[in-house]
């Protein structure tokens, strides 16, 4: 049955192509022009809904994610197909680890899905190679979309001006925004008689955090391996940026890890274990990672993204999120704000429908609602995030923190603006020398900076 209908669909498609090829001169054909020059192709003049005389169209859509995410998207796609009866969506979900490989292979063999996920370095590589459709003109015409109601911080990730990411026309729409938040176990704080971290940025500093962590670190049997730690997997990005440091200055392409603001912050994070013993060391981390410790109620402070909510809802203890501790040197705090996006292939034969799908998945109210209710993300729509999302009665209580990160102190991941990530990988591969105390952060960063610079220049300039 299924193959039969597929076959019928293909025959129909062929007929449609034959017909549209004959009707030359009409204004908005979806065929060849789009693939040869995506920038020049204008969206079709017809309204996206309403007319029943539509040619049936099949859109390939590829993404990745956990089973939850897959279920949500299957639902979303079903409601899209209801709204656009002439469009059939073929949805493929691959394991996240294989996604980048699979996508690149598909692109190089010319079988790009019409709509697909892009994020960070991939977006840069794909946009630069001309794989992605410039959707600016489609956006300007759609009625689905009010740009003022979508997080600018998320949209800007998908701008590309021909050489740089972050500026220029839009080549993608956000699938989500992922504020990396500071989470703490309220029960442990209560038991130790420590007051909660503040949800307001700048009020709670590294020193406060350290003091709390010291009270929360417990070694009952005295074997030198605490059963309960104060803080785990403390974000180096947060420390560095909060301290006024930078990994890199993307404007000039200079790696800046060897500057004091950077290595001081790195030393602080390393000392949480080395000097103060309030954080698991590398070996302990490898034996049981901070996530497991937190879930087990053996870790006072940790980090989470919105996608961790479903798992955390099951926890037997109370928890909440707070602002990341601020650097006492600057009084500032920061963290990273992740994002994944939807892009449309420059070679799509049906750019209008593909765009409609991407916009629907990104911005449809019902879809966004379902998504946040299942604890997958913060809504892309600002009024929804600030309204019903914030009022939601499931943890974390202080949902404003997520919104603060998006609006105020969240920053793109370090590698979001570089297409080749070897320079950061080399840093991470060797940073254990600092984490295990073999080298000071100052010496290490001085030693690694030239290597990182060389790799960055080679891969990105």
């Amino acid at each position: 049955m299924k193959t039969k209908s597929k076959f019928a669909g293909m025959v129909m498609l062929l007929l449609v192509f034959a017909l549209s090829a004959c009707s030359g001169g009409s204004n908005g054909t979806n065929g060849g022009t789009a693939s040869s020059n995506p920038d020049a192709s204008k969206p079709s003049q017809e309204a996206s809904t309403g007319s029943d005389q539509k040619e049936p169209v099949t859109i390939d859509f590829m993404g990745h994610g956990n089973p939850n995410e897959k279920k949500i998207f299957e639902k979303l796609i079903a409601s899209f197909e209801e709204k656009y009866p002439h469009v059939t969506v073929k949805y493929t979900s691959v394991p996240p680890g294989e996604y980048s490989q699979k996508m690149t292979t598909l692109i190089s063999s010319g079988k790009v899905p019409d709509v697909f996920y892009v994020g960070g370095p991939e977006f840069y590589r794909f946009a630069e190679a001309g794989t992605l459709l410039n959707i600016q003109s489609y956006l300007d015409q759609t009625s689905l979309f009010n740009p003022d109601n979508v997080w600018k911080q998320a949209m800007d990730r998908y701008r590309f001006d021909g050489s740089k990411v972050g500026e220029g026309d839009l080549y993608g729409l956000p699938k989500d925004v992922g504020p990396w938040a500071f989470v703490y176990n309220k029960d442990l704080f209560d038991n130790a008689g420590v007051s909660y971290p503040s949800a307001k940025a700048g009020e709670w500093t590294w020193d406060d955090m350290l003091e709390a962590a010291q009270k929360l670190t417990v070694d009952n049997n005295g074997d030198g391996k605490p059963e309960q730690y104060g803080v785990g997997a403390y974000s180096l990005e947060s420390a560095v940026w909060g301290n006024g440091g930078e990994y890199i200055d993307y404007a000039t392409g200079t790696v800046k890890v060897n500057e004091p603001a950077f290595y001081e912050a790195m030393q602080f994070v390393a000392d949480l274990n080395l000097k103060f013993k309030v954080s698991p060391n590398q070996e302990a981390e490898q034996a049981m990672n901070a996530y497991t410790r937190f879930i087990n109620g053996q870790l006072g402070m940790f980090a989470m993204g919105p996608w961790d909510q479903p798992a955390f809802w099951e926890l037997p203890f109370a928890w909440d999120i707070a602002a990341w501790p601020a650097s006492p040197n600057t009084g500032q705090t920061a963290t990273w704000l992740g994002s994944m996006g939807f892009a449309v292939s420059a070679k799509s034969k049906h750019p209008q429908e593909a765009f409609d799908l991407a916009a629907f998945l990104s911005l449809d109210e019902q879809g966004q609602r379902e998504n946040y209710q299942l604890g997958q993300a913060v809504p892309n729509l600002i009024n929804m995030a600030e309204g019903e999302f914030k009022e939601m009665d499931k943890g974390p209580q202080t949902r404003q923190v997520f919104l603060d990160i998006i609006q105020d102190y969240g920053r793109p991941n370090v590698i979001a603006f570089s297409k080749d990530t070897q320079w950061m990988d080399t840093f991470n591969q060797n940073a254990s020398k600092v984490w295990n105390g073999e080298m000071s952060a100052k010496d290490f960063t001085a030693q690694i900076q030239p290597k990182m610079q060389e790799l960055y220049d080679k891969g990105n300039k």
Partner: protein, 297 residues
């Protein structure tokens, strides 16, 4: 020759080519073409998205100055320590298994089992066994000997020994079977003659068994070295991102990273070719040396 083939013979030949064609075509299409293409691409920069750009010898030059190439090469050669250890163990095992007692085929099966177990599943099991805090191995060491075991997969200096250990466990069975075959092809007349001359067990082992097994030794060494140069899967599972301080990454893992994480296909191809030539040269040397020590009757 000039002799004309008869119709029957010609038809026979046609059938022959027809039957031979699928594997040959398969090799040409999926073996030779990619191999030749990788030579071409190793002189280019190619990210798989845009067209390859001519780079001349740049990839090969970069490779010479790339410390990670040397590091991963060092790791790869380090892992070869496992080959002689594995040879001794699997030969001893084969000698033990080369007798007749009830349950012998059961025993042989047990030792062969790791060879047919899927490597990814096995690696995941080992990851659990080698865990520092709650792994089986360290618990055993602690409870039996009172030794606090190291962080096998977490410390740069322990990653490679761990990998060798796993390699031994999964490789011994295969070599054992080879040695068994070798043992069984040794004629018992040698041993009988030696016994008459008054040779003990030790002399029989060192003067008859081991020398007559040299063709097997040779095969095991050659295959072992080629296999070690190509090791990848265990590394991929057990040493995430090359392991701590890149201490577990092999050359093939490095090639994989460049090809499918950084999408530097040109560079990956260049490293792959250098590796390929290296394997070829090493194997050639082994063959040249073999007539000095391999006993052929």
């Amino acid at each position: 020759m000039g002799t004309k083939l008869g119709g029957y013979r010609r038809r026979e030949l046609a059938w022959l080519y027809l039957f031979v064609a699928p594997p040959v075509l398969g090799f040409l299409l999926f073996g030779l073409v990619p191999i030749l293409f990788s030579i071409y691409i190793s002189f280019h920069k190619w990210d798989m998205l845009s067209d390859p750009q001519w780079a001349g010898l740049a990839n090969y030059k970069d490779l010479l100055g790339d410390e990670k190439v040397y590091k991963s090469m060092y790791n790869t050669i380090y892992l070869m320590i496992g080959i002689p250890i594995g040879m001794v163990l699997s030969m001893l095992l084969a000698i033990l298994m080369n007798r007749k007692f009830t349950g012998i085929s059961f025993m042989r099966t047990i030792y062969y089992l790791p060879v047919i177990s899927p490597i990814i599943a096995v690696s995941l099991l080992w990851q659990w066994i080698l865990n520092q805090d709650y792994g089986l191995l360290n618990n055993f060491l602690w409870e039996t000997f009172g030794i606090a075991g190291p962080n096998w997969l977490g410390k740069p200096e322990w990653v490679k020994p761990s990998l060798i250990l796993i390699g031994l466990w999964s490789g011994i069975g295969g070599n054992m079977v080879l040695y068994l075959a070798g043992l069984q092809s040794i004629s018992s007349t040698y041993y009988e003659a030696a016994e008459i001359d008054g040779a003990g067990a030790w002399h029989k082992l060192t003067r008859i068994t081991i020398p007559l097994l040299t063709p097997i030794h040779f095969f095991v060494v050659v295959m072992g070295i080629i296999g070690a140069f190509q090791s990848f899967s265990q590394i991929y599972v057990l040493a995430v991102d090359g392991g701590p301080e890149y201490s577990g990454a092999t050359v093939v893992y490095y090639i994989f990273q460049h090809a499918f994480q950084y999408f530097n296909m040109g560079y990956a191809s260049a490293v792959a070719w250098v590796l390929g030539i290296l394997i070829f040269v090493v194997t050639l040397i082994q063959f040249k040396l073999s007539n000095r020590w391999v006993y052929q009757d």
